[in-house]
Structure formats: C-alpha cells, structure tokens
Amino acid sequence: MSATTVLARSARAEWTRIWSVRSSWILAVVTAVAVVGLGTIIGIDSSDDPSGPPPDASAWDGGQLTGMFALFGILALSVVTSAADHGTGAIVPTLQWTPRRGVLLAARAGVVVATTTLLGVLLVAAASVVIWAFLPHLGLPVGDGAEILGGLALVYACGALLAVGLALVLRSTAGGLVTVIALVLVLPPLMAQLPYEWAVTLSSLMPGSSALFLIFGEGPSDDMTTTSARLTLAAWGVTALLAGGWRLMRTDANR
C-alpha cells in the first residue's frame, strides 16, 4: 500500500475528527458571525459617513480590516482541534489507527491548516461582499481580491501552523490557547510600549506583530517590510510545527 493512500486515509479521518465535535462548529460559527458582522458594521458605518472611504479603495480593503478577527478564530480552532486528542486521551486510539506518526503529523497539520485557512479566506471574502453590497461604488475587482486574499491566506496558514505546533508541543488546549494568544495578541503591543530599543525589536519579531503588519500595514518598528513580516511569520509557524512534530514522533503517546 502506497504512502499516499495511507496519508489520504488519515487526512479523511482528520476531517471527520474536526467536524464530529461541537466545539469546532461553535468556533467556526462564532468566527463567521464576528467576521461577517464586522464587515456589516463597516459597510453600514462607511455608507453613513459623508467623507466615505478613500477614492482608490475597493471593497476588498474594507474586508481586509476584518482579517484579524478571522485570525483569532483560526488560531483557536487550530489549537482546539490539534490538542483535543491529547487533552482527552483520544491520542491512544488515534495512534492505534494511524501508528505512523509522520503520516499523522502530515495529515493533521495539512488538514487543520488547509481547513482553517480556507475558512478564514472565505469569511473575509464574504465580509468584503457584504461591504460591497452597502458600498457598490467601491467595486470588487478580481485582481485586488486575489492579492489581498492571497496575502491573508499566507498569514492564516502560518498562524495555523504555529497553533498546531504549539498544541502538539504543549499537549493541552488551555496551554495552547494561552500561549498562542500571548504570542499574537498580548506580548507584541506590550513589549512595543516598553522604553527599550531591544523590547521594540523583540516585539517586531513576534508573530502577532508580523500578522498585524500584513493585515493593517502597521507594526512596532519602521524597519518591517511585507517580506520580513512574511518570513518572520513563516519561521514561527515552521519552527513551532517542527517542535510539535518532534514531540509527537519522538516521545510516548500520552506521557
């Protein structure tokens, strides 16, 4: 039997694993309501605003403003789905059914990252369409959409990788959520406020600062560029996954 077949089977099992518990649906629905709801508020607010959005803006730009909300949902969903096996002890049957841990890692990371990234991109796209419905004169050009959604997809994929990796390292839903929130939401602005150069530099190297820069174009340091932010975020995602993969593959199942 080919490795591809084994991987495909494991991926199908991972898909069922994600969507067969309520917590995944709840997180997805809450994220959808938050992202599309924010898009609706932006649409209503901007249509009432006499100054209106910048003349060269498209509805995609408005949609991008909802991107951070989608990122939080992606991080939470990725942590919850990846850590659940360890938190509940279900890793025992999981590894009995897929004992090749490299295959399990590839299937889990692949399915979770693909699913959450697609969910985030679709929700931002939906928010953009809602904004366009309120402000039809903005337009919804395909080229802008591909560029903005493509950029967000990279942010979401790296964020999901980071979340999956942390969940596998910590083997705890609560620990994973706290750590990922600290790295993305809490520590970057906190450190940027400290009156030390090194703290600002460190803040700009945190995944939250990179995500913020790529979504809003703002960051703690003027030295940040789109490329540096993407590389930083990718490095965090890959490193976290390598660490999580090492723990999954080299240590006992649930010790």
Partner: protein, 310 residues
C-alpha cells in the same frame, strides 16, 4: 502471533518492563497477569507502538506495529476505555477509525450491533457508562476484523451479561485461530477463558505456561485435612511437608498427597473427618508466584498465623 524479545521500558530510574521475552500464539486465549504496576499495560502499549521501548522489540505477525499500513485490519486492541473524546458520538468515533484504515463505513454499523451499543452509538461519549465505553472500545478493536486482538481489562465495568458476552467473544476468536491476549486482575475470569497465562511481576517474566501447568505445578498442590487431633497430625507431618493450620481442627498440607496423609493418619490411629485435594485456583498459583513481586501491599483484614490466637 505477538512476539516480544528482550522488551524493556525505563521511566527515568524506574524500570517498568524488564527484558520480557515471550510469544502469544494464535488459536489460544493468553491471559496476561501481574500485580498493579507490574508493567502489563506498558507492555501492551509498546506492542501497539504507543510507547517506545528502551530496549528490545515487540512484533505482531513478524512486523513492528508501526510498520503496518492498515493496522486495524491486522490488530485490534482495547487499551484504555476512557481514552476517547467525550464530545464525540460513539458512531463518529468509529467512523474516524474506519476512515483512517480504509474500512467501509457499513462496517461501523455492524460492529455497533455486534457489541450491543445500538441507538446509544449516536449519543455523545460523555453520557456513556464505563460498560458502554468498554463496548465502544471493543467495537473499535473489531472494526477491521483483525486476526490479533489485545484487550486490557476488558470486563471492567461490564454487567454479568457483558462479562458472559466477552468470555464467549474471546473464546470464539481463539477457536477461529486468532491470537488473543487479555489482561485482567480477575483471576477467576482468566481461569475461565485462558488457555495459557503469562505472569509478570516488577516488569519481569515470572511464568509463561499453559494454564493447566500453572494450576497443577507452579502453584503447588495442596491437601486439606480435618481431624480432632490436629496437633498430633501436625507434628507427624511437619518433617515431611509444609503444614498450615487454616482453622482449629483443619490443616492444609503442601508436599504430600491425600493417600499418603490418610495412610499416615491410619498408622498413627488418628481420626480423619475430611481429606481432599484442594481445588487449585489460579488465584492461589498467582499469589504464590507473585508474592515477592508486589509493589503495593494492602494490610490483611484478618491476619491468620499458624496456631496464633485471633
């Protein structure tokens, strides 16, 4: 067949499993016995690739478990009935197992019926009793209709019907030529269903034999004798066999047969009211084999010393 060769597991300075070598043969139910902390579950976890051996190897049909592409179709195991996501339905749990091994989803409904879960399979696991979780774990083990089965304490939480069902199930699998390894702390259960027993203590192999051999030899054959002149008989037997006074007027003798004891009593003119072989129980054999291998001793509720007053 399951084979272990020099299987060893260390947790820091603690050696949980120590150089275990034995085979679990096809066509037999093999009971896996040992006191708490003896290393039974750790051994099973290493067979299933969940824990990494510190040394040695465990193979199933000549392969390491992790090398099997569709393991559910070769090996089924119930290791920890509580190890399931409580928010998932039993049916979804089984569907994940089926999908991961390329098993048709129709098989899920078959095993649900086979273990008697029925409509409860659509409910979330958090509402299951321990017995229902055991049945769900057994259903997962049967999904791929495997030739090798491992069960860690399968009768835990089952009612009498469930216990009888699991006995028949295990017996049936062995009779079909499958390999069955079952651990239990219930000696009576193992005595009822096992053809062979593997006993470990402190991680080491103590016995690996057919159950009849264990019952007849390893545990020591005993004879119970009742006599009103128990002091006289005790003195007469003391230099020929091991004698224990179980109650006033009753002795238990190890090392002499009932005919020899009867002849001796007659020669001495002692009245005998009862003389019979003690039916050997696996429990007795097990206790005598593992008495030096128990890590956690409880205090006896009613200590009974030979000749001592209560």
């Amino acid at each position: 067949m399951i084979s272990m060769r020099g299987l060893t597991k260390d947790y820091g300075d603690v050696r949980a499993v120590d150089d275990l070598t034995f085979d679990v043969e096809a066509g037999k139910v093999t009971g896996f016995l040992g006191p708490n902390g003896a290393g039974k579950s750790t051994t099973m976890r290493m067979v299933m690739g969940l824990d990494r051996p510190s040394a040695g190897s465990a193979t199933v049909n000549g392969k390491r478990y992790v090398e099997i592409a569709a393991p559910l179709c070769e090996v089924g195991a119930l290791l920890d009935a509580g190890a399931m996501h409580p928010g998932r339905s039993g049916r979804s749990h089984l569907r994940i197992g089926a999908r991961s091994n390329g098993i048709p989803l129709s098989r899920v409904d078959e095993v649900i019926e086979q273990v008697g879960l029925g409509a409860a399979a659509r409910r979330r696991v958090k509402g299951y009793s321990l017995g229902m979780r055991q049945r769900l774990g057994i259903a997962a083990a049967l999904l791929g209709d495997p030739q090798v089965l491992l069960f860690d304490e399968p009768v835990n939480g089952l009612d009498l019907d469930g216990v009888r069902w699991i006995r028949a199930l295990l017996r049936g699998f062995a009779d079909e030529g499958r390999t069955v390894l079952v651990s239990s702390h219930l000696m009576s259960e193992i005595q009822l269903i096992a053809d062979r027993v593997v006993i470990i203590g402190r991680g080491r192999l103590i016995a690996d034999a057919d159950i009849d051999e264990v019952l007849s030899g390893l545990g020591g054959r005993r004879v119970r004798v009742r006599t009103p002149q128990d002091d006289d008989l005790h003195r007469a037997l003391a230099d020929r066999a091991a004698v224990v006074r179980t109650t006033p007027g009753e002795l238990e003798v190890t090392g002499l047969g009932a005919p020899e004891i009867g002849d001796l009593a007659q020669a001495l003119g002692l009245a005998i009211h009862h003389l019979a072989d003690v039916e050997q129980s696996l429990e007795h054999a097990y206790l005598s084999l593992t008495e030096d291998s128990v890590d956690y001793h409880g205090r006896s509720a009613e200590p009974m010393m030979d000749g001592a007053a209560r």
